[in-house]
């Protein structure tokens, strides 16, 4: 067996056992200084090398305008900044095809009422409560990395398609509940 084959086999085995490679992932971290410190430590531990750090939305906007970004992790309440507005603007930016669909993970130490709905409606992918733990962050990173969800753009929303497909009953079978989908009709439920 060649060295290359050995390597390929080893790589596939490691992936099967659960391997993450963030060597070439470009990750934008947006938070205050201490938040950035924590996020940096977590992602450095994960093996990330290309971390872009922004303590303001102005700096974050410059980064997404200039550099390719594969993942955005941002605090929701930055002083003097509308994070939800920043994400909405990014998602709607047809001129930035490379970054507009980057997965966004929002962070918050205390979510005011309505924050979750606002996070959902701005087009973010996940909302994670602080204090952060490597385990939760890893789960979310792996989730968005494996996501095959489409993105949808309407007059009022741009972001991950939040509809979940409900499997219909087999042809000829009538549901017993009022809410059961009609046979042969694909039901689409908007869960957002």
């Amino acid at each position: 067996m060649s060295d290359q084959s050995d390597r390929n086999l080893k790589d596939s085995a490691e992936r099967a056992l659960g391997v993450i490679n963030l060597d070439n992932a470009s990750i934008l971290l947006i938070d205050d200084a201490w938040g950035i410190e924590i996020l940096t430590r977590i992602f450095v531990g994960f093996g990330a090398r290309h971390l872009h750090k922004a303590e303001s939305l102005e700096a974050a906007s410059e980064t997404v305008a200039k550099l390719p970004v594969d993942l955005i992790v941002t605090e929701t309440q930055l002083q003097g900044g509308d994070v939800y507005g920043f994400i909405r603007k990014l998602r709607a930016d047809a001129g930035n095809e490379r970054n507009r669909f980057a997965p966004v993970i929002l962070l918050s130490a205390h979510a005011a009422p309505g924050a979750i709905a606002e996070a959902r409606d701005c087009g973010a992918n996940f909302f994670v409560a602080k204090p952060l733990s490597p385990k939760v962050m890893m789960d979310r990173v792996l989730w968005v990395a494996g996501a095959k969800r489409q993105y949808v753009e309407t007059a009022t929303y741009a972001g991950p398609d939040r509809r979940f497909r409900t499997v219909t009953l087999p042809p000829g079978v009538l549901g017993r509940r009022g809410g059961d989908p009609r046979p042969g009709v694909e039901a689409v439920e908007l869960t957002g």
């Binding site: 390929n8 790589d11 490691e14 992936r15 056992l17 659960g18 391997v19 993450i20 490679n21 963030l22 060597d23 070439n24 992932a25 470009s26 205050d32 201490w34 938040g35 410190e37 924590i38 430590r41 977590i42 992602f43 450095v44 531990g45 994960f46 093996g47 390719p68 594969d70 309440q77 002083q79 095809e97 490379r98 669909f101 980057a102 997965p103 130490a109 205390h110 005011a112 009422p113 602080k130 204090p131 952060l132 490597p134 385990k135 962050m137 890893m138 990173v141 792996l142 968005v144 990395a145 494996g146 996501a147 095959k148 489409q150 993105y151 949808v152 753009e153 309407t154 007059a155 398609d161």
Partner: protein, 154 residues
Amino acid sequence: MSGARFHSPTNHLGKAVTQPGGKPVATALADAQSQLDDAAEQLAGRIDEILGEIGALCARPGGPPPDDLYRLAREAAGLAALAHLPDLGLAAHALCSLIDLSRRAGALPEEQIQVGVGAMRLLRHPERFSEEARKMLLDDLKAVLAKALKTASA
């Protein structure tokens, strides 16, 4: 016609993480935890600064400005557990909820805020209390929060 446009963009993160190389997830988690543990003392130092800033705010004539107090309590809630002070984090989170409720009600009830701030100060040194005493302190804070919630929803 709904007017919705659907996109199936390349998942660049997905492509990156599955490249050959990298590290086992278990190792990555252990390395990240080790990185955080190395920062625990620094973070405890920041918690002390926050408590000092909160103390200064509370000493102001007319009471602490709610937005500033909320910002500091929120920061503490996000950092405390990583500084190995999880109970202080819970107290800070409860204080955030109290401030949030009172902001919506239009006024900060000084006594309730003092209970929250006092709990944070005490829990900065959890080793001084038994587990039972810490639990009682947090239960009292929860009771204050529940009362405030009840008042707000009345």
